[in-house]
């Protein structure tokens, strides 16, 4: 065990799924041509003024309630002032000393252990645009489409102790936001981004060590790897008698290391002050209660229900409910055909593999997934009825993915129906025995291991369609006679 302990605090920026931006009516749609979703307000034309999108506040309250926060009845907007080409006003409208949500917590599971991570605050702010640097290096362009897209910043207390805990926390947080339908949680497209503050200190000591902020991690794996790297780096520096500097470092996923971006010693002075163009934000108890009444079932509750209702193991329930789309899919399938464990195996195994391979795991919705839940359910039903074998089913599943056909169609077209009739199986056994008289003799003289060989030959002769149980039974009967 290392003689240092790790202290991790996470700041998550979640882009909200509102139709329009936080302070103007422009669309938030991703992937529009550059600078199409803009107007005088989000381009900071002279004289333009922000007008708050009420939906953003509602989403903020939703997140706050789901994360067990107090919702401030009186909060305030502030200006965070700094210059950057993708920040048109020269300040970002954010919340500062009076945020919308305070003091929450999120329970996470790591290695079967449960742990509570406290939240300092959740506040609302606007996103910035994006700089695009010309490949020749002689020009920079700016796309302001994302400018003014609403964000929640969710700040944890520095209570996370390992990369695995960090990852579990992020997965849980993303699950909650997805269940609330306020963020699609897409890390690659940047709608769910995370900065990590990492420090280490000698085990048992109380003062915090020098903190390093890591940015630019766009997958859960990157978060884990970056924090791991940083712990190792810091441990080596301190172990070698060196001194750490407070700085911001970028994760370089290709080289798998963090590198210094800027030193915090020349710390930015954001000159925060209350935004004079917006009124203080007053949230009534009635509004909070209204939002609370409409909160959906959240991941923890769903996990417990899935265990209760379908008798699934805890592990299965965790994997299936950590994403709302997956849980929705699973439950839709179980409603079609009630074999919960078999369906759980197929979803956690082959289905999620395909979803990952095809990078379909970024959106909230499942309608474009290749195999709809009712078709998976129908396939499992075919297995259970003895129509196809589990082995054939693997091939049928891939075919469903590739062709969009149903299992029944594929089985009929390719003649994959399992052979359970004794006649054809016995015929096959007879010809195998006739063709391998020498092996039969060896088997009968005690070489039991050859039994598998005969099974294989019979399956081959039936193109894999023979019911394996029947083959076993009949073969043993014949050989052991």
């Amino acid at each position: 065990m290392s003689s240092y302990e790790t202290i991790i605090g996470l700041e998550v920026h979640a882009e909200l799924l509102t139709q329009s931006k936080v302070f103007c009516a422009c669309s938030t749609q991703f992937g529009a041509p550059p600078n199409q979703n803009t107007c005088p307000v989000c381009l900071a034309m002279p004289g333009a003024l922000p007008v708050l999108n009420r939906r953003v506040v509602e989403f903020g309250i939703r997140a706050g309630l789901a994360a067990n926060c107090q919702i401030a009845s009186h909060s305030r907007w502030a200006r965070k002032n700094y210059f950057y080409p993708d920040l048109p006003k020269g300040y970002q409208i954010s919340q500062y000393e009076l945020p919308l949500c305070l003091n929450g917590f999120i329970d996470i599971e790591d290695n079967g252990e449960s742990k509570r991570v406290r939240l300092t605050r959740i506040h609302m702010e606007e996103d910035t645009g994006k700089n695009i640097h010309d490949a020749h290096g002689d020009a920079s362009l700016v796309d302001f489409n994302r400018c003014g897209v609403p964000l929640l910043e969710i700040v944890s207390e520095p209570e996370i102790r390992s990369p695995q805990e960090a990852s579990a926390y992020l997965r849980k947080l993303r699950a909650i936001l997805q269940y609330l339908e306020i963020c699609d949680g897409n890390m690659e497209e940047g709608s769910f981004r995370c900065d990590a503050n990492v420090s280490i200190r000698p085990r048992g000591s109380t003062p915090l060590g020098t903190k390093v902020e890591i940015k630019n991690m766009n997958s859960f794996r990157a978060v884990e790897r970056a924090i791991e790297y940083e712990i190792k780096r810091q441990t080596e520096v301190l172990g070698g008698g060196g001194r750490l500097v407070q700085e911001t470092r970028l994760w370089d996923p290709d080289r798998e290391l963090t590198r210094s971006m800027r030193s915090k010693e020349s710390a930015d002075d954001y000159r925060y002050f209350p935004e004079p163009d917006l009124l203080p934000l007053l949230v009534s108890d009635a509004w909070i209660e209204e939002v609370r009444r409409h909160l959906p079932e959240l991941p923890d509750a769903r996990r417990q229900r899935v265990v209760r209702e379908y008798g699934l193991p805890e592990y299965d329930a965790l994997v299936l409910t950590l994403r709302k789309d997956v849980a929705d899919y699973y439950e839709a399938a179980v409603r079609q055909y009630r074999n919960p464990k078999a369906l759980s195996n197929w979803v956690m195994g082959d289905l999620l593999r395909i979803i990952r391979e095809r990078k379909l795991d970024n959106a909230l919705v499942i309608h474009d997934w290749p195999v709809p839940p009712e078709r998976l359910a129908a396939m499992v039903e075919l297995i259970d009825s003895g129509e196809i074998s589990g082995k054939i089913a693997k091939a049928v599943f891939d075919e469903m993915v590739n062709t969009g056909k149903t299992a029944v169609q594929i089985v009929a077209e390719q003649g994959l129906t399992q052979i359970s009739d004794e006649g054809p199986i016995l015929n096959a056994i007879d010809s195998v025995i006739a063709a391998h008289a020498d092996k039969v003799a060896q088997y009968r003289s005690g070489k039991d291991k050859l039994f598998g060989f005969f099974v294989g030959q019979v399956m081959k002769a039936t193109q894999g369609k023979a019911n394996p149980q029947k083959v076993n039974d009949l073969l043993r009967e014949k050989l052991d006679r």
Binding site: P40, L43, A44, M45, P46, G47, A48, L49, P50, V51, L52, R79, N81, F83, P85, P88, K89, G90, Y91, S140, V142, D269, R271, Y272, F273, P276, D277, L278, L279
Partner: protein, 485 residues
Amino acid sequence: MDLTRLTIEEAAALLAKKEISSVELTGAAVERIRATDTEIHSFLTVTEDVALAQAQAADARRARGETGPLLGVPVGIKDVILTKGIRTTAGSKILEHFVAPYDATVTRKLLDAGAVCVGKTNCDEFAMGSSTENSGFVVTRNPWDRSRVPGGSSGGSAAAIAAAQCQGTLGTDTGGSVRQPAACCGIVGMKPTYGRVSRYGVVAYASSLDQVGPMARTVTGCAHLLAAIAGHDPHDSTSVPRPVPDYVSLLAGSIKGLRVGIPREYFVEGMQADVDQAVRSAVRVLERLGAQVSEVSLPHTEYAVPTYYLIATAEASSNLARYDGIRYGLRLGEQEALLKMYQRTRAGGFGTEVKRRIMLGTYALSAGYYDAYYLKAQKVRTLIRRDFEQVFSTQDVIVTPTAPTTAFRIGEKTSDPLQMYLSDIFTISINLAGLPGLSLPCGFDRNGLPIGLQVVGRPFEEEKVFQAAYAYEQATEWHEKTVDE
């Protein structure tokens, strides 16, 4: 008949009777601007073609039976207010070639009311100043004495009225920028309650203080203009959803029994004697009209100027950050690294006074100074507001001088910013408290320069301010005196 000498209400009456057309009236205004503006420099942009087209449209609307007090009336718009398709510079080199992509709400409302825009009036750069000497382009001259300033920052808007170049104008007032030049130019200017008029499309100087205000020869003219531009705007969260009274029909009420407070802190040492006397005799006129005059106290008045300069510059430093050469406006140092481009653009685009205020504001907001300056100023602002609440619990309006002196000579105060800042000493508190205030002529000094009387009211009681001012105006003849040719 000299059409340019008409007040808004006189012009409206003639237009209504079809004795004149808007095309004639507008033609006269444009002609007048052409004849006088090479000396006065009220305008940065004269929109002759646009104006004549709008005048024809107004005449057509009237021919179809439409009516309205501003239908066909020529107005000038301060160049910090956006006018779609028309160059809007805010008096700054950094926006020298900026053509507004949209109309400010007040512009839209004026045009919808049928007003004709004859041009964009000169102003101190980004409305920062008290003399219109800080314009990035040209110094406007006071029509009463061309060696003197017209006041600021809406000096072009005030001078345009005094020089009879159009019937009405819009200015903006952050610390007195409508009232102080109105006083210097012998016209009427009103700053409405904060929140009464939309700021959407108005180039921001200090967001929590800025307010658009009308300027005209008479109180009635201002009432017509305010009626057209006031009201809630969904594009400005700080504009207030309250019904707008019919200011014009409410003007004629008697002021018998009106309680008028005279704050003792507003008659200070160093004030020009002529001003002091003119205001005191104006108060006697109000008394004669039946007002109950009493002396009141606004004890935090002495902190108003420093408080104003902390808050206004803090907000300005942030509001002006958008002029960075990236999306519009001037860009210098394009071939250089980003920081250098910012530095070149802002160094070359902003004038001295703007830079001074950006630096002041940046300092006031910076870490370690925020509590001592900005936060402290906000607390004092609350005290100043409470002073007024206290006084308004017993008074209907407050009457003060608008400015401590009449128009000063061009160049006289430019070397001493602190002296210049004191020009707004009587108007600044009203912005800090968000109250409606109006300046109207109440006499002339020994040099023949106009003196302004300020009337201040409770929040959203513009009609009372107008009533008091109108009663005074009807009882006196100061407003009838115009600049000699």
